[in-house]
């Protein structure tokens, strides 16, 4: 199983990252960025249905909660009505899961391949030999030049810029992908906890991981944010609406100010 995983997932990713590294003037930070964007675009057919399905389910929350409330004592009927609603709205409640599960190995392999290629210790390099030893062109690129700006891509960012970027982009991504406050206070509280805890945890882990992996996290978060904004705008929302979902208080405050000014006039 491990051998199949290495052969069909890790090795192609390692070759792709090394090929890009060669193509992009031996700049591995750039290679990670380009490959991350490429992987995200390639997995877009799997990501899009999931994101759209999740979005639709969120939009249906008021109706779902109304049905749950209405049929609180009759679970069977509640489930029937919910299924009926999903059918009417053209949503498969499990539709979001499968594509995400399919793309998971690709993302995992990509992550693992970056960690392997950035080998800067004897044992790590010895492990990499198993993947590239048969290919002279790839072997000639080893070890990679891991310098980028102030970073050594194989080691954590000493200035903590990347962990901060990971926290911010992770938070923004979660925020943008779950707009609209839930009417259920418990769900809202849990949502809020997740939106803060997860980015902080990612940020903390990034402080210990090679900065090359942190670059991958930042780029993948930014791509996710862009995709979500595009989906939202295709769904009829303006860019301002998207921003309003991010900072509802700020947006409503601004609107109130504008209204106030209009009244004065």
């Amino acid at each position: 199983m491990g051998q199949l995983w290495n052969e069909f997932f890790i090795q192609p990713m390692i070759y792709a990252s090394l090929w890009l590294y060669q193509l992009l003037g031996h700049n591995f930070a750039l290679a990670i960025t380009v490959l991350t964007i490429a992987v995200r675009l390639l997995t877009l057919p799997l990501t899009l249905p999931a994101q759209k399905s999740a979005k639709k389910q969120q939009e249906l929350q008021p109706k779902i909660q109304a049905l749950q409330k209405k049929y609180a004592k009759d679970k069977e009927r509640q489930s029937q009505e919910l299924m009926k609603l999903y059918k009417e709205e053209g949503i498969n409640p499990m539709g979001g899961c499968l594509p995400l599960l399919i793309q998971l190995p690709i993302i995992m392999a990509f992550y693992q391949s970056i960690a392997k290629v950035l080998a800067d210790t004897p044992l790590a390099l010895y492990s990499l030999a198993g993947f590239v030893a048969g290919n002279t062109a790839m072997t000639s690129l080893i070890p990679l030049s891991s310098k980028f700006l102030w970073l050594n891509l194989a080691r954590p960012d000493p200035r903590y810029v990347l962990p901060i970027l990971v926290v911010f982009t992770s938070w923004l991504q979660q925020k943008i992908m779950s707009p609209g406050a839930s009417t259920d206070p418990q769900a809202a509280s849990m949502n809020q906890t997740m939106q803060v805890t997860m980015p902080l945890m990612f940020g903390f882990l990034t402080m210990q991981w090679p900065s090359g992996l942190a670059i991958y996290f930042v780029v993948t978060n930014i791509v996710s944010i862009i995709i979500q904004v595009v989906i939202d705008m295709q769904g009829g929302k303006s860019f301002r609406d998207v921003l309003q979902n991010l900072w509802p208080q700020a947006a409503s405050g601004k609107r109130a100010q504008v209204k106030g000014r209009k009244k004065k006039k």
């Binding site: 030999a129 030893a133 072997t139 809020q192």
Partner: protein, 372 residues
């Protein structure tokens, strides 16, 4: 107040998660394999705990350990593994007179006394020290991943000169006092010949792969292996290529040149015996695992350690096995041979003393009751 409670009710979750993560992140995995040196009746083994263990070469009993102290368990919950206070040490120590020199992953070279492992002086470089230092006369030659090779006064650690190699140096330099030259192999695919007196470069030779092990001298030939899978023989005085031999994997070990034959291991799981003058293959031996820098020669026998956990004793003339020994871990580190014993260290930090004649185990460290 109620609103505040609701809004920040998740804070305890974050704090607990952070506490757990800062405390229980575990120890960093080993960055390299253990290595050992035998000198003056003592085995100096840099083991997986990142410390140097001085063992009696005849019995395996422990004389001292450096650093003697490890830091207390860290993390707020106190469940991180204790760490060596002087940084992990994996490279083979070098011994000269009454000092033993050990290079650490914290970029520092320590000179300890052989008697008790007490630090006499230290010298800091700009990056990890992967290669074993080399002591010739009153000079210590030290390679560092900071891309330099340093020449230091062996007694005081004072820097005499440094040579900039332009890339990581993971291989010990080869010092040839007769020609007044030092040969430096780098991960930047190059081998340099450097003048011993002042560190001036005399020539360089480029291969298609990184070079992670020291070259060997055989008469007027300098022989070394590269990650491009080739064994190279170049004229030691001019750097001109004389012959190459291709293996099927990375060559990550110092070739062994004895009586007109070059023995070299490869990650293609083979050991090759080559004619030193022409590079023609005389025989090859197939192990079940990669063969790194794990060859030793004595009394017509070639000893080979392998990733497959085996030690093979081969007839140096024919490559036929005489005996084998199975260890508890993979063998990626150089073997050390004395008249009395063959010393082997495995990737999981087990040290064995074997009878060179029949492979019988003489002792083992750590003793069974100390094993975790």
């Amino acid at each position: 107040m109620k609103v505040l409670k609701k809004k920040w009710g998740f804070l305890p979750t974050i704090v607990i998660a952070m506490l757990f993560m800062t405390s229980c992140s575990g120890s960093a995995p080993s960055a390299s394999w253990p290595e050992l040196t035998v000198a003056g009746g003592t085995v100096y083994a840099a083991l997986t705990d990142g410390r140097v263990h001085a063992l009696d070469a005849d019995t395996g009993s422990e004389k001292w350990v450096f650093p003697a102290e490890v830091s207390k368990p860290s993390g707020l919950l106190g469940c991180s593994a204790p760490k060596a206070t002087e940084g992990p040490i994996y490279a083979a120590p070098a011994v000269s007179d009454d000092l033993v020199y050990v290079g650490s992953y914290n970029s520092t070279l320590y000179a300890l006394n052989t008697l008790a492992g007490v630090k006499q002086w230290e010298f800091s470089t700009g990056d990890r020290i992967v290669a074993a230092p080399v002591v010739v006369g009153n000079t210590v030659y030290l390679a560092s991943a900071d891309q330099h090779v340093y020449a230091l006064d062996a007694a005081t650690g004072t820097e005499r000169w440094r040579f900039s190699a332009g890339n990581w140096v993971w291989a010990s330099p080869l010092v040839d006092q007769d020609s007044g030259a030092m040969y430096v192999a780098t991960m930047g695919h190059k081998v340099y010949r450097v003048r011993l007196s002042d560190g001036t470069q005399e020539w360089e030779f480029t291969t298609q792969g990184a070079i992670a092990a020291a070259p060997a001298l055989a008469g007027d030939l300098l022989i070394f292996g590269s990650f491009d899978g080739h064994v190279y023989a170049v004229d030691a005085s001019t750097g001109e290529e004389r012959w190459t031999f291709q293996t099927g994997g990375w060559v990550w070990g110092t070739p062994l040149a004895v009586d007109g034959v070059v023995y070299v291991g490869s990650q293609d799981r083979k050991v090759y015996a080559l004619d030193v003058e022409s590079g023609t293959k005389l025989w090859e031996f197939q192990a079940n695992g990669a063969v790194r820098d794990t060859l030793a020669y004595g009394e017509g026998t070639l000893y080979v350690g392998s990733e497959d956990k085996m030690v093979y004793a081969l007839d140096a003339q024919t490559g036929k096995p005489k005996w084998t020994f199975t260890a508890e871990g993979s063998i990626l580190s150089p073997l050390a041979l004395t008249e009395k014993a063959l010393y082997v260290v495995t990737t999981n930090g087990q040290v064995y003393a074997l009878d060179p004649v029949d492979g019988g185990q003489l002792w083992h460290y750590p003793p069974a009751e100390e094993k975790k």
